[in-house]
Symmetry: C2
Subunit: 312 residues, 2 copies
């Protein structure tokens, strides 16, 4: 069962419901969290006979706005679609939760309600970048704009744990995003994190990496603070979009190429449950892909949510 925050996102609830409906048609069990008087009429109109699909409706009366203070929202809006969807993972009634809403609130709710893995100070948003011949897991993509060196070490550990556990990659290569591949390059943060990653047991640390090396797939995991990671992710997306506009005849091919590889949503790592963060502006296809991704991984990841300190 995948719990969906129907009211989260710039184009909610329409695109979220559309994405969820398509996923349900592909036999993924869906739990829709949101106001019944929004969800039911939409389903009646767009999918008459939806009752034959594996869709359940979980009424909630409140909505967390995109720009609302995360901590305040989570504490006050206990009957919101976001909080209720997250809570359903904590109780075990859903295997994963997905929201395109206020990502800060999603993080806070996940940490407070589902809980952080033991030893994890800062959960991180981890996304797969489409690169030559595969994907690279990048984290943090924006949850933590200010990081200390040991946070980057934890991101490296979380990413490694995830690729090992869910993807079966035995010794994933981990690198630090920097402005030069040489060991001495980078900000003070990167230089200090370099020392920690280089001496940490259980990590296959391959040094600093620049974007060219990331997109040439010279690493499996790239670790960075949330500010740089956000620049990396959004620059990639913006340049792909700009290039597509230069070749309108090929734009569909290009989008298909990147959509195929990218799972449509990012993971919140460091939480004792599967939490998928979608872009606020995600379209229905992206939501559908992200649900499908959540469904695939939620089975694999349950068994890997161990204490990270046991692993390193």
């Amino acid at each position: 069962m995948i719990a969906i925050d129907v009211m989260g996102g710039d184009n909610a609830p329409q695109v979220v419901l559309k994405g969820a409906l398509e996923a349900a048609k592909n036999y993924i069990p869906i739990a829709l969290h949101g106001p019944e008087d929004v969800i039911v009429p939409w389903l009646e109109h767009h999918a008459p006979g939806w009752q034959t699909l594996n869709i359940t409706i979980h009424p909630s009366s409140q909505i967390v706005a995109m720009d609302e203070d995360p901590v305040f929202a989570v504490r006050k809006k206990t009957d919101s679609s976001l909080v209720k969807a997250v809570a359903s993972v904590a109780t075990g009634s859903a295997q994963a939760v997905l929201s395109a809403g206020n990502s800060g609130a999603l993080m806070v709710a996940s940490a407070l309600i589902i809980g952080r893995q033991q030893g994890v100070e800062r959960p991180a948003i981890a996304g797969f970048l489409p690169v030559q011949h595969g994907t690279v897991l990048a984290l943090d993509l924006g949850a933590n704009t200010e990081c200390r060196p040991h946070h980057l070490l934890q991101f490296a550990q979380l990413g490694t744990q995830y690729l090992k556990g869910s993807m079966g990659i035995e010794q994933p290569r981990v690198s630090l995003l920097s402005n030069g591949h040489e060991a001495g390059k980078g900000s003070i943060l990167v230089k200090e994190a370099y020392q920690l990653l280089a001496s940490a047991p259980g990590l296959n640390f391959v040094g600093n990496t620049e974007p060219a090396a990331i997109f040439a797939h010279k690493t499996d995991i790239v670790v960075c603070d949330g500010f740089s990671g956000n620049v990396l992710l959004k620059t990639m997306e913006a340049v792909i979009e700009m290039t597509a506009s230069i070749f309108p005849s090929q734009a569909a091919v290009l989008e298909e190429k990147y959509h195929q590889k990218a799972p449509g949503g990012a993971l919140l790592l460091g939480i004792k449950g599967t939490v998928i963060v979608c872009h606020g502006n995600a379209d229905a296809k992206t939501i559908e892909n992200a649900i499908s991704f959540a469904w695939k991984i939620s089975h694999k990841t349950l068994k890997n949510k161990e204490n990270i300190s046991q692993l390193y």
Copy 2:
């Protein structure tokens, strides 16, 4: 006269000489700095009759290596092609200097020998990003990995001064690179710089900007610390290259499209002279474009190298 550091760059001296030769064929006066016994045989072999072109040779015996400590290199290697080329701008015998070599050493040499504009604490590397319908000036692209808020303010002022003086843009829009366009978004650095830019006289500050808005040309200048700027620039380059490899038949069109817009080199702003920084891995065509860019702007910029504090 454009002074060229013949020995700077991953593929020096060949690609540098080739780019310079092509520029000279386009009637740009070129001063080649480097060992005579390297330069003369190359010219004799590749351009018999080169003496009819406007090329002069300025012998130097030392080479600054790509990974050498900048301050040490500049102080010790006073007879290097890099230091000599920079010095020729200080003495007025060249209007601009170009190097694809050690960019740290180029900066240090420029600051020490040509000098910083009055009031400028940190010169910045400023480059034009090819965006929808034009270019956006981005700075800093890697000279200053650690910045304080007032450095970002100075970058905003330098960029504005440059676009006004050299490009005739009267009120260039300036924005801060951030992980969200809202005023409260960003790292601590960005939040503090936001306050400074918002209250600075003479700046057309339009707020925070994300990569999508940069590539949609919603700003003329984007200001950032050198680490984030480097990630922005290099991610853009890497994604363009990856996309070109997906459409091999269109790769030439794509490259042409971006090459046309991008001048091939970045500017060192805040220095009392025109200094062009090329990528270490620049090819001959890029060097040629950068020389041509240097030639075009060096006439316009001389008159604008005033005290920046007089302008703000």
